[in-house]
Assembly symmetry: C2
DNA sequence: TAGATTGTTAATCGATTAACAATC
DNA sequence: TAGATTGTTAATCGATTAACAATC
């Protein structure tokens, strides 16, 4: 139930399972199997079962998994049976797109503040948010007890801002800046850099 | 030199090495070591050396790696010593942000056309591009011999568009839509879904 | 030369898969 | 009951690490 240590690679697949199950639920599927889920995601059924078994027993032999029940369980495991307030740092084009994105809330996240350091942006809107000066960033994050930040600044600004975010109490950073940042061990960082994915694919393309 | 088969996980790290090396070069570093590169990226020096050794011998014992030389070699290996024309499908907020992103060209990619199916968007601008009707998408992609597409549409439209892109000759898709898509074996797909990363991190956060 | 760092081998570690008893 | 599918074990497979000869 409360596993001692689950491999990180297993944890990283649970959100994928949750996403696929949510699609199944939206399509009115009430029951699924490790086979069906695996086919859909390109994993073996054995892997699906093994991964889920790290956290408990969620299925019924001969039947499979109840979609709604498994969704609830995975949401609880990932702690997205609640909504996490997050701060967005960087109000460029990408920051605006992220601020306007409607897909966070029903998956457990809500942007509640947006920061930038450009004087002409401060006070203007990014989606439903008034852009605030990064000068008040630490204070605001601390006051609201925010633990998650998304960083959509240029690479050159990322390391300094990450350090300031950590200092303000941030424990998880989703970094859109195309660079590696260094943070203390208790802080988690995930990266999104589209070019890494593109360069990965061109390796397999013929010229 | 021309390795038979390199594990996918090794290939996926080469773009990271290239990115870090490019930062070093920008900072005027002429020589680096597997130790330094590893420290910077959070990998062991042994892994860096082992990964690079899959493709050839690029270093000098006692000295390390020439940054510029290694950059050239990795660019060649990844086939980003050329610029790849790409098509962008989906001109919403995210599509606009991607169309305006200045970080593609010097890393081997160039968007050359943008498509959407919304009548009020067709003919207007997304960054420097005039948005074209998806009705002419296959024809345009075929005519220009484009092999790479970025998909920034809602999830519901992704599978159908992916099939059409493949039919038009696309061999690599970077899918920003939060869903898994199914394509023939000869087509590669990479995914970007920020929520998967966020849900991964919340597993490790305390409530 | 002495010191440093590569490229590579072998050992270790960890993840995936196959198989099947349990059981719905 | 018969058929189906889980949860789990053991075997396989593959990736990472440690160690060191080679050599710059």
């Amino acid at each position: 139930m409360s596993p001692d240590h689950v491999p990180e690679i297993v944890v990283s697949r649970i959100p994928l399972y949750l996403r696929a199950l949510s699609e199944m639920k939206a399509a009115q599927r009430e029951i699924t199997s490790s086979q069906e889920l695996g086919d859909r995601l390109g994993f073996s059924s054995a892997q699906i079962r093994k991964d889920l078994s790290q956290f408990g027993e969620f299925g019924k032999q001969g039947t499979g998994y109840n979609v709604s029940f498994l969704i609830e369980q995975l949401q609880r495991i990932l702690k997205v049976d609640q909504v996490w307030d997050t701060a967005l740092v960087g109000a460029g084009d990408l920051g605006h797109a992220v601020a306007n994105y409607g897909g966070f809330l029903h998956r457990g996240f809500r942007i509640v503040m947006v920061f930038d350091n450009a004087p002409h942006k401060i006070g203007s809107q990014a989606g439903p948010f008034t852009i605030q000066d990064t000068a008040v960033m630490e204070e605001q994050i601390r006051r609201h007890g925010i633990k998650i930040a998304m960083l959509t600044t240029p690479a050159a600004a990322a390391q300094d801002l990450a350090a300031r975010l950590v200092n303000a109490g941030i424990e998880a950073i989703l970094c859109y800046a195309p660079t590696s940042i260094s943070v203390p061990d208790h802080v988690r960082v995930e990266y999104i850099d589209p070019v890494l994915h593109l360069q990965n694919m061109t390796y397999y393309l013929s010229r």
